[in-house]
Structure formats: C-alpha cells, structure tokens
C-alpha cells in the first residue's frame, strides 16, 4: 500500500512530470528501501556539519526543478574529501539554474546495478535489472519481469544476465549480498505495482550493492500526466 503522504506527493508533482531526487529517495525509504545518509543543505554551515559527522567521502548534487539530467549540467560532484572542496563545490552548485538546495550524501562503494521500472502499455508495471553505468545501453543486457515479483523471479533475473558474475562475484571480487538484493527488488516491485496510476518510468541508477547493503545512489521517477 502506498503511504498517504506519498500519494499526495505524486499527485502534486504530476504537473512538472517528475520527482526531485530527495523526494524520490524519501518515497523509496518510506517504503522500506535503503538510501545513503544525507543532508539537504541550504547553507554551507549545514553542509560542513554533515561533513564533520561523516567518515566517508561525500557526494554533492544540485536539487533543481529545471535540471533533470544532472550530469549534463555538471550538477553532481563525487569524492569530496576536504572541507575546502566541499565549500567551493557547494557555492558552484548553488549558482546553477533553479538550484533550490544541495543534496549532500555519504559516498558508498560497491557493485553498481540498475533497478528500473516501466509502466508498459500491454503489461503494466515491469521491473528491469541490469549492471550499472552506461554499459547497460551498449550491451543491452537487462532482465525484465512482470511486477510484483517473488524471490525466485529475482534469482532468475540475475541468472539471465550475461554479466551475472559481476553481481555474484568473480575472480576473488566479492559479489553483492543476494538476500538484500532479493529483498530490495521484491519491495521495489510491490511499490511500483502500487504506483501504477502515477508513474511512467523509474530509474534507480545506480543502486550500489555491498556485502551487506543495497543503497539507491540516484533515483529518477518520471510521472504520468493526469489522464
């Protein structure tokens, strides 16, 4: 079941056609998915306080209704390790078109995968799984299943990928925690089933999977216009 608060948000955002990244992440978190530790900073002071409290490097992103594809606007900065870099990047991002605030998050390292959804004309909500990054488009290596999914469906999705060993681990590299991945995707598949009237497509790209977590590092939710 979609939370009432989420329904309100989805109805409200239909006009602009998509959810802002912090809104999208909150929606996924509220329904049981994992997101990075973050702060939505209006001021440099808040940003610096978050830096002090976090041990890992940080990621900073501009939050703007005018920017859908963040990389095209250079609106994402990864690997921030010093307060000075944080300050200069914070100021630059604030200056971007329509920037309302800056999303600052802990940076997580692991296997990057894509979990997506499409509201298909013939089949309704379907889940898409692939290896993260741009290579997914080049290799066209994705698994698609009708939502909602059961555990076995997720296992068969991973098995059907040519690049399955990247997820399962190979040549000494640790793979992802399959139990967490299965739970993440089944929860997601139920959520998109409940979101059917609202969404057009969803890209969680990347979702970063470690030996104990699957964290949504970026989320794009495209909404359906009111019919």
């Amino acid at each position: 079941m979609l939370k009432k608060e989420s329904v309100k948000l989805l109805e409200k955002q239909r006009n602009i056609g998509f959810l802002l990244e912090p809104e999208a992440k909150k929606l996924f978190k509220d329904h049981g998915m994992d997101i990075p530790g973050f702060v939505l900073a209006d001021s440099l002071k808040t940003a610096k306080a978050f830096f002090k409290d976090t041990s890992s490097p940080l990621v900073a992103k501009a939050v703007s209704r005018k920017i859908l594809h963040k990389t095209e606007y250079n609106a994402v900065v990864t690997g921030i390790k010093t307060p000075d870099v944080l300050e200069s990047e914070f100021n630059r991002l604030k200056g971007l078109d329509g920037c309302e605030s800056v999303l600052i998050e802990e940076m997580i390292k692991g296997v990057e995968i894509i979990i997506g959804a499409k509201n298909d004309y013939q089949f309704g909500p379907v889940v898409v799984l692939g290896i993260g990054g741009t290579s997914v488009e080049i290799y066209n290596d994705t698994a698609i299943r009708l939502a909602p999914l059961e555990q076995g469906d997720v296992v068969s999705m991973v098995e059907s990928l040519v690049a399955r060993d990247i997820i399962k681990g190979f040549r000494g590299k640790i793979g992802v925690n399959m139990e967490v991945l299965v739970s993440t995707i089944t929860v997601f598949s139920q959520l998109i089933t409940d979101m059917e009237p609202f969404f057009e497509s969803i890209d969680l790209n990347p979702v970063i999977c470690t030996k104990d977590r699957c964290v949504i590092a970026d989320a794009r939710v495209m909404l359906r216009p009111v019919s």
Partner: protein, 455 residues
C-alpha cells in the same frame, strides 16, 4: 457467456448473402457450410428471394428455428443494426467478418458494437477476421474449400490476430500431420480476446496445446493473459510479430495493434512458461512436441545417431538453442556396450552423441534408447534415425515407441519426411511420439520442452 454455441453451433445464419455476386464472403461461407457441415445454415439478405434453391430470409425473425450463431458479412455501417437483430432473436454469438472498424480509423463504430455486445452479453469474434474453423462443426473462412488445405481434427487450439497467417499455419500443420481442435481468427478482437480464448481452450477436453499468433495486446491485456496462462494446465505457445520498429508500424496499420516493446513481451512470456516460437516452423514443431509431452524438461539432451555427421549437426543445433548435451554416465555406456551387436561393439562411438554407425540394427537402437532413458543426466533423447542403413527395419518407429512408453522419458525422432519412410513415421506418430523432418526440427521440438527456461 457460453462460447460453445459459437464454436460448435447446430444452427447458423449467414447474413449478407448476395444474389448477384457469388464470390461475396457470405456466399462462400454459406456454400461451404450448407450441406457440407452438420450445422443447419440459413442465408439472410434484406431483399429476400431464393439462393441455391433455399429461402433467402429477409431478416432473422423469419428464420423458423433458434439460432446458435450468426456470421455477419455486411458493410460495416450496417453491423450495429444486425447485432441488434441477433440479440432480439436470441442468437448466442456472432462472427463479424466485415472490415471497416478501428483498423481503418472507425474507432467509434467499433466502440458502438462493443457496447451493444456488453449490454446484452452477446459474444462475437472479430470484426475484420476470417472467423472460425471448427472441424466437424462449422467453417466461416470465406475462402473456397478447394483453395485451402485444412488440417484434420486434432488437439491443437490455434488463435490468430491475422486470418492470412492462420490459413497459412493450417497448411503447415496439415503438412506435419498436426490436427486442430479449433482455429480462430480474432481480427480486431473487439470482444473476444486472447485471454477469453485461453480460458475456453483450457476447459476444452479436445485441446492439449494452445497456440497464438499475436501482433500486440490491448492496454493491460498482456498482464491478464500471462496471469491466466500461469493458471493454465496446458502448454501455451506464442508467435509474435511486430518485433522491429518497422514491424511495429506495420502491425499498427494491419490490425490497429500497438505491438509494444518486444523485449518486455518476450521476457514476460518466458517468466510465465509460455513458449515463444521464433517463426512458423518453430510454432509447428513446438505444437507437435508439446502435444506429446506437456511437462517441461531442464534441457539435457542425449543424442543417438546412425551417422557421425548427423550427431555433430545435432550437437551444434542444441548448443545454438541453449540445450546441453552432457556426458553420459560411464555405467550407462558400459551396459550399452555389453549389449551391442558384435559388428558395431568396437566401432560405435559411445559418447554424447552416441553414434551407433550405419551398421546398427534395430536391437542396438532399442537397447541404447532404453539405457539412455534410465540415465538421469539426460532428460530428453533425440533419435536421429536415417533409415538408409540396411539393419534398420520398417518397424523401428513402433518398436522404439514401446520403449519410450515403458521408460517414460521424452524422445523426439528425426526421420526424413518421404513417402517411403511413412511406415516408420507412423510407427512413432500413432504412438504419440513426435517426429521431425530435419535435424534442426528435432532440436526445436526438444527446445519447446524447455519452455520455462529459454535462451
């Protein structure tokens, strides 16, 4: 809605029979059914008169009997009023042959007939279709009987969005000796859709495999279809058209279908164990093997051949279609070797493929199949029986069938489709063992059995 009246009618009205134009679809349909099928056919034309020395009724009211179904072949603008007449008369369902609905942009007219049908629970097939071929009952295809090849009555149910593809597929079924329980061209599928047909075929005792030609599903219909397929105990095969961007455009102008994203279609069919046939040859092979073996296999194939080359060809084809050809157990090989005739004991290649050579006799083949069947590393046997060798008798089909029935492991045979080998082929087919006419065809038959885990 009871569709039995529609698919197995005792009485029918053919509406639109012409007194001046004898190749009119309604005339062809009337002539085909009248006196040739058990169904009692009544011809209807508002002008009345006589056609073929039978009364041409001006309307349905005049017909002195209750009607199980009506074939409507009038101009599209008159279809709604004809449907109203049918409902008033208490007809149980219709086949609407007429075109000129959503496929030519007349969406409102199609909506109108759907509304009429919904209000009165009056089922119909079409519009813009060939309708139904129900062996021993009725045939609404407006193609003269002497021009088409119809398969015998059998156990395959076939549903097609295209009439042309349906007729052509029937030729292929007939050529392969496959029979149909019912073939339906659903055209614009405004009322009866794939999912309705799936439900009907599932309950039909005469149908063992349900096959579809699909260009595209209506909005949300794909989800209903696979959900229904999930509960269906019979194997389902689909052949999809409109896979490429150009094909999608063509499907849209053919039946106003939105062919959709092919990758989504294909992967979801696999998710629900619906076998997807690549083309009409695969469709034919799939139907034949699934009608003999409805249960799935993992895809570990044991190949038995009388020629080394055929064995290699089969291994290549298996590999191409994601079927495994695992090593056969040493114990199995030892038992087989011990029992082989002395002439081939030392020259047979005891491996997978198992090449018995051209010097093998019936007993060698039977022994090998019996012990391959008992080896749990393989779950399907391909028997490549080129019958040119002098040691292979005409009884080999019947003899091997008995082994297969006793051992319970699926076997697919390859025998060249020539008249002189007919006795071997029938030895298999009469015992419900599928026979392919090429090595590739045999591999495709095995591939169908692995439908829950495609390539």
């Amino acid at each position: 809605m009871d569709l039995n009246f529609l698919f197995r009618p005792r009485t029918m009205a053919v509406i639109g029979v012409s007194t001046t134009h004898d190749t009119h679809p309604a005339n062809v349909i009337f002539n085909k059914n009248h006196l040739r099928y058990p169904v009692k056919a009544f011809a209807v034309n508002p002008k009345g008169g006589v056609y073929q020395r039978e009364t041409l009724y001006e309307n349905l009211e005049q017909i002195p009997q209750d009607l199980d179904m009506a074939v409507i072949a009038v101009r599209s603008q008159f279809v709604p009023s004809v449907i109203e007449q049918c409902i008033k008369k208490g007809v149980k369902g219709a086949v609407i042959i007429s075109g000129g609905f959503s496929e030519s942009g007349n969406v409102a007219l199609q909506e109108k007939i759907v509304q009429l049908s919904n209000e009165a629970s009056f089922p119909f097939v079409g519009p813009n279709c060939l309708g139904i071929y129900s062996p021993d009952f009725v045939d609404t295809f407006f193609l003269p009987g002497e021009r088409i090849i119809t398969p015998k009555k059998g156990n395959i149910g076939f549903v097609s969005q295209s009439g042309g593809v349906l007729v052509d597929q029937m030729v292929k079924f007939a050529g392969q000796g496959i029979g149909v329980s019912l073939a339906v061209s659903i055209g614009n599928k405004a009322c009866l859709k794939e999912t309705d047909m799936l439900s009907w075929f599932e309950n039909d005792l005469g149908t063992d495999v349900i096959a579809f030609y699909i260009e595209g599903f209506d909005k949300g219909e794909g989800r209903k279809f696979v959900r229904r397929a999930e509960q269906c105990s019979k194997p389902i095969v689909v052949m999809k058209a409109g896979k490429s961007p150009q094909g999608i455009l063509a499907a849209s102008s053919h039946t106003a279908s939105l062919a959709g994203d092919y990758k989504v279609f294909s992967q979801i069919m696999a998710q629900y164990c619906v076998a997807e046939a690549e083309d009409e040859y695969e469709l034919t092979s799939f139907c034949e093997s699934l009608s003999c073996y409805p249960k799935g296999i993992k895809g570990n194939i044991g190949i038995l051949s009388l020629s080394g080359g055929h064995g290699v060809l089969a291994v290549d084809a298996c590999s191409k279609h994601c079927l495994e050809t695992p090593k056969i157990k040493t114990e199995t090989m030892e038992v087989i070797k011990e029992k082989l005739s002395p002439e081939i004991k030392e020259i047979a290649a005891l491996d997978n493929p198992l090449d018995l050579t051209g010097s093998a006799v019936d007993n060698d083949i039977i022994t090998s199949v019996r012990h391959l069947s008992r080896d749990d590393t393989i779950d399907c046997i391909l028997a490549l029986l080129i019958p040119y060798s002098p040691g292979v008798s005409a009884d080999i089909g019947a003899k091997l069938s008995r082994v297969v029935q006793n051992e319970g492991k699926p076997l697919v045979a390859y025998v060249p489709n020539e008249e002189k080998y007919r006795i071997i082929i029938e030895g298999f087919e009469l015992n419900r063992i599928p026979v392919a006419s090429s090595v590739k065809g045999a591999v495709l038959m095995a591939k169908a059995l692995r439908r829950c885990k495609p390539c």
